[in-house]
Amino acid sequence: MQATLYDKLWRSHVVRQATDEPDGMALIYIDRHLVHEVTSPQAFEGLKLAGRKPRRLDSILAVADHNVPTTGRGGGIADPVSRLQVETLDRNCDELGITEFRMDDRRQGIVHVIGPEQGATLPGMTVVCGDSHTSTHGAFACLAFGIGTSEVEHVLATQCLLIKKSKSMQIRIEGGLARGVTAKDIALAVIGRIGTAGGTGHAIEFAGSAVRALSMEGRMTLCNMAIEAGARAGMVAVDDTTLEYLRERPFAPRGALWEQAAAYWRTLGSDPEAVFDRTIVLDAARIEPQVTWGTSPEMVASIDGRVPDPSQIADATRRHDMEHALEYMGLAPNMPITEIRPDKVFIGSCTNSRIEDLRAAADVVRGRHIAGSIRLAMVVPGSGLVKRQAEQEGLDQVFRAAGFEWREPGCSMCLAMNDDRLLPGERCASTSNRNFEGRQGPGGRTHLVSPAMAAAAAVTGHFVDVRKMD
């Protein structure tokens, strides 16, 4: 039988079926468990109350990322509530012997950046984390998905999870991307096409020549946003790009074990005749730089487009949602996207904070300065190691010279759990993944874009087609 990549990953992890139904719940073995401070305290507490211990300490890697400050780390965390949460993680990891990259560790960073960076994410694995953007790791042909806190506790105690198999969806992006168009634009274009619930109940495999041409960074950006299309998991088959990225990473196998692993990993793709429950094909050449105008990632337009007009929408619920979004966003129908003027610019998050993202933004910024109307432009690298590499390449100097702030790694203004946040009514060009109401601060208005597009907005003061800048 011809199998999809998802089938292969699923089958190789079924411990037992929970019911007699073939597609009912199954107990699935978990290889890698990533942990952060926000969704784990109640799980650790539950474990302790039940007198249980983590089953496989070597499967766990923990890091504090959501609450950590991006400036003045020497002074610790000022907000006592945030501090308690981070300290609780530190204490739990200490007590149980869990590997943790603490705030002062130079390997600290956003959980979805450090997993792959360390080679803790490997092809063929099941990877879970109490975080929806765990889908990011699927870029390495692993089955990676976000779980809730009860499931975090379940994985800690049993190394397994009870889940139901999803349907499969293939999204094929064929052809070449135009210069200046990135994985982020593919992701937003896909969501614009299928909607934020388009992938619900499905595991998405991204395929096609445009995906094969992406770097691992780009594939991670794409899989990161699978959850924004409603799919718990996104994935990409293994190829040379995958193996090249992983070679020599600290957690990756070496020597003979590497050879053995790599031979297996090369089998991790869908068979040529595999059947998907749904297939969608996009022409890469037709994807343009994308900008969201609303309060859901599906509310997105091309840079040369306009804010839509609710009066043209027949469906009452959709019209109502659109009116509500435009009111929240402070935008008028039919306004050209290029006339939207952000107040702040945020380059960061697990979607777009890797070295390639910072390089793309720096390329646009180099030799320019942020526009006078921009109140704050900041770059928050995804990890301490990304930060260091960027500094070795002089990117920090490029950003600083242009008027950007260069910060310490963490989630930062992606969700504003630390001090980095928008003020009510402020508008932000952001490379993150969610433009929900209040996401970047109460009353804040988020426009999701690629790093290059965020950089272009920073230096011109409004959204602009990065392809037209030289």
Binding site: S12, V15, T19, E21, G24, M25, L27, Y29, T39, Q42, G46, R52, D58, D79, V81, L84, T88, C93, T99, F101, R102, D104, Q118, G119, L122, M125, G130, D131, S132, T134, G146, G148, T149, E151, H154, A157, T158, Q159, K164, A197, T200, I227, R232, R247, P250, P253, Y264, T317, R318, R354, E356, L385, Q389, A416, M417, R434, F436, E437, G438, P442
Partner: protein
């Protein structure tokens, strides 16, 4: 039953992130839908009694007070994996959420804590919205029967819903899922042994190669 007439209600709206800093599992009810429910901005530790409720928000209307069922639109619970969202709904007093569709992680999380998410067809949900919002429908009550997998309106109209038999069984019996899984410890161990033989690199002491110390000998090869 209380009607929340918006599609794509995300988990940030259900429980805003500032409340996620809690290390406890309860107490989220007063901050359910915080940004819609109050006119002032909420932060952890504030006394709900001292805040200004938004008189227009549906849960603040007297007619929906004490509701145990939330009626919602498509793709309810999209966004983050935070279990704090079902915790907040449950802590507020909801026992059931009905919608035409739910986001996967949210849907799954509900079962883990005994909150029942029910998927009904779009037209059935539409009908329920019409009925509960109708003039004079104060105190509109639905009867939810888990055993028979049906939702019945006051007028006696019944809609059936699907639920995975395993989930139904667990909800019904309030089972400790971890305890149940641990009953299969032998099977897990046997699987682990096979898995280790097939993919030994998954067990090759990763933690030893990258210790939690502050001075890792090697960091990463730099990316091209």
């Amino acid at each position: 039953m209380a009607p929340l007439d918006r599609a794509n209600v995300d988990t940030d709206a259900i429980i805003p992130k500032q409340f996620l800093k809690s290390i406890r599992r309860s107490g989220f009810g007063p901050n359910l839908f915080d940004e819609w429910r109050y006119l002032d901005h909420g932060e952890p530790g504030m006394d709900p009694a001292q805040r200004t409720p938004n008189p227009e928000f549906v849960l603040n209307l007297p007619r929906y007070r004490g509701a145990e069922i939330l009626l919602a639109r498509a793709n309810f619970g999209c966004g983050s994996s935070r279990e704090h969202a079902p915790w907040a709904l449950q802590d507020y007093g909801f026992r059931v959420v009905i919608a035409p569709s739910f986001a996967d992680i949210f849907f799954n999380n509900c079962f883990k804590i005994g909150l029942l998410p029910i998927v009904l067809p779009e037209d059935a949900v539409e009908r329920l919205f019409r009925e509960v919002l109708a003039e004079g429908a104060e105190g509109y009550r639905l009867h939810v029967d888990l055993a028979r997998q049906s939702v019945e309106t006051p007028a006696g109209m019944a809609f059936s819903f699907e639920i995975d038999p395993y989930r139904k069984h667990s909800l019904w019996n309030g089972l400790d899922e971890i305890g149940l899984t641990l009953q299969h410890a032998d099977e897990i161990a046997a699987f682990e042994a096979r898995h280790r033989a097939a993919q030994p690199w998954l067990f090759s002491g990763q933690a030893a190669q990258a210790p939690g110390s502050r001075q890792a000998s090697s960091d990463i090869p730099s990316t091209r």
